[in-house]
Amino acid sequence: MTRKRFVTLTLVPAIGLLATLALVSIAGAVWFAVMNRTLRSPDYDFVGAYNFLRLLRDRRFFNALEISAVWEAVTVIGTLALAVVLAVLIFETVKKPLTRNLICFAFLVPVLLPRVAAAFIWRFLYSPSLGVINYLCGLVGIGPVEFLADPSLALISVAVVDIWQWGLFFTVILLKLMETLPRDPIEAAMLDNARTWEIHAYVTLPMLKGPLISLALVKAVESLRSFDLIFVMTGGGPGTATETLDLYAYQMGINMGGRISYASAMSLLLLVVTTVAFTIIWKAGKKWAS
């Protein structure tokens, strides 16, 4: 078999399938976005930019946009901050490889949980009447706290679960990365009498700049897939306090009324914004990291 035939035979099926499915979903979204299709009836008409114009007057849409932005910021920053702090802490205090590995295993468990499972586990813990967290709060005289029913707390409470899953996972990655760093610059800094936190702030973490940027990007992409967690924990509530864009699109398009075209317009906007944003960030991050 010649090289050319091998290349064609291996690439065409996989890339062809991906391209077809991607094209179908994007073309479908564009098509339905300019129609007035609903799930109830199979008939539909062309309505032009009507759906998009309505979006601009939809308060709930802008609320979802805001919630999504806050969600992204809180989970990305929270995850990275937790990971950096814990990785440095473990790197400095745990020297035995066996203990380190045990901690790594424990920290890998949460991210492996299905989001649905994580959501149930924490709903159970957060429960005002029978949750462990409220019991502990009660011991110190607070409570009972309505973590998921209080609009000012709900988003943060769900974000904690996300950070619990991903922050611990990133801790393991960072710890492994720190172990692969060359010892020389760290030892040079020690000879210069640098304090432990100075070594990490000025030597190790800057050396990990590239991976940290990649991790931030991976988390940002992953945070967009928050649907599962929020859906099971709060369903977007109380009210619309935790309703992100994908949740709102789902509610509009499928759950309530099945206004497919309106939801399509929304998801199309979401698609364009994320694709453009991530393409720019990805390319810039690659340049910056190298």
Binding site: V109, L112, R225, D228, I254, L271
Partner: protein, 271 residues
């Protein structure tokens, strides 16, 4: 003395961290063996008479049993097809693609940027029109976007780590590109590839949104679990805990493998 105190303190902090990581899960496992009256107590109970009732309830429940079966079929089919299509493509991208290889890889990666809801909403209508709404086939098809792209994404670096010399040595002995792939690159990269497949498996096993939108009777386990809340009048916490344990078990089996994958990825330099 000060040293002793700080050593004890670090140990306490580390113990606390492990409790934070595993505690919630262990508490759920414990809850799965409790009767409802042991759960609904003002003071959390550590000592109780364990019961298997919750597991019996979910395993006797036909919806949950079907969900489990559907999950197994859909996930294994999607991962298998993803592997068959994605692994050879990844090898070609890693070895034979020079100029346009990066663009193809970027396209594959950009599929991971795609919000799932942007796939789900057009697909539900298309599936309804094609008559494959609420079928296992339809679920497998849409999951292929996830599996093929994830397999390619993770397998390209795995093939790049295969020393080029080995493939050239095989070429010197007269092997063509297909034979080099099958007899050399594949076995040498096998451990990393296995890790990539496991990761892909976990991704689709855990998926909720697409299954929730594109299936109703034929939904997967996460969908069924997500809907348990409304099984009875009271919130059946014991049953929910048992279902969670069932959902959590398969991914956790692979934790060791994932750790190995992580180690090789980190050592060969992150991308």
């Amino acid at each position: 003395m000060g040293k002793l105190i700080s050593a004890t303190l670090t140990r306490a902090v580390l113990a606390l961290l492990i409790v934070l990581a595993l505690g919630p899960i262990l508490w759920t496992v414990l809850g799965a063996f409790k009767e409802l009256r042991d759960i609904v107590t003002p003071v959390p109970k550590l000592v109780f008479t364990p019961t298997l009732d919750n597991f019996a309830t979910i395993l006797r429940n036909p919806t949950i049993r079907d969900g489990l079966l559907h999950s197994v079929i859909v996930v294994s089919a999607a991962v298998l097809i993803g592997a068959v299509l994605g692994i050879p493509a990844a090898h070609t991208l890693a070895r034979h693609a020079r100029k346009w290889g990066d663009d193809v890889q970027f396209f594959v990666l950009s599929l991971r940027f795609m919000p799932p809801v942007a796939i789900a909403i057009p697909f539900i209508v298309i599936y309804l029109d094609l008559g494959i709404y609420d079928t296992l086939f339809g679920l497998v098809l849409v999951y292929l976007i996830v599996t093929v792209s994830t397999v390619i994404w993770l397998a390209v670096p795995a093939f790049e780590r295969v020393p080029r010399d080995i493939e050239e040595a095989a070429a010197m002995e007269g092997c063509g590109p297909a034979e080099i792939f099958w007899r050399f690159s594949l076995p040498v990269a096998a451990p990393s590839l296995f890790g990539a497949l496991v990761f892909t498996f976990v991704l689709v096993w855990n998926e909720l949104l697409l299954a929730l939108t594109l299936a109703a009777q034929n939904a997967t386990l996460p969908v069924v679990a997500a809907s348990i809340t409304s099984l009875g009048k009271e919130v059946p916490w014991g049953v929910i805990n048992a279902a969670t344990v069932l959902l959590v078990l398969p991914p956790l089996v692979f934790i060791g493998l994932l750790m190995g994958l992580l180690n090789t990825m980190v050592r060969s330099g992150p991308k």
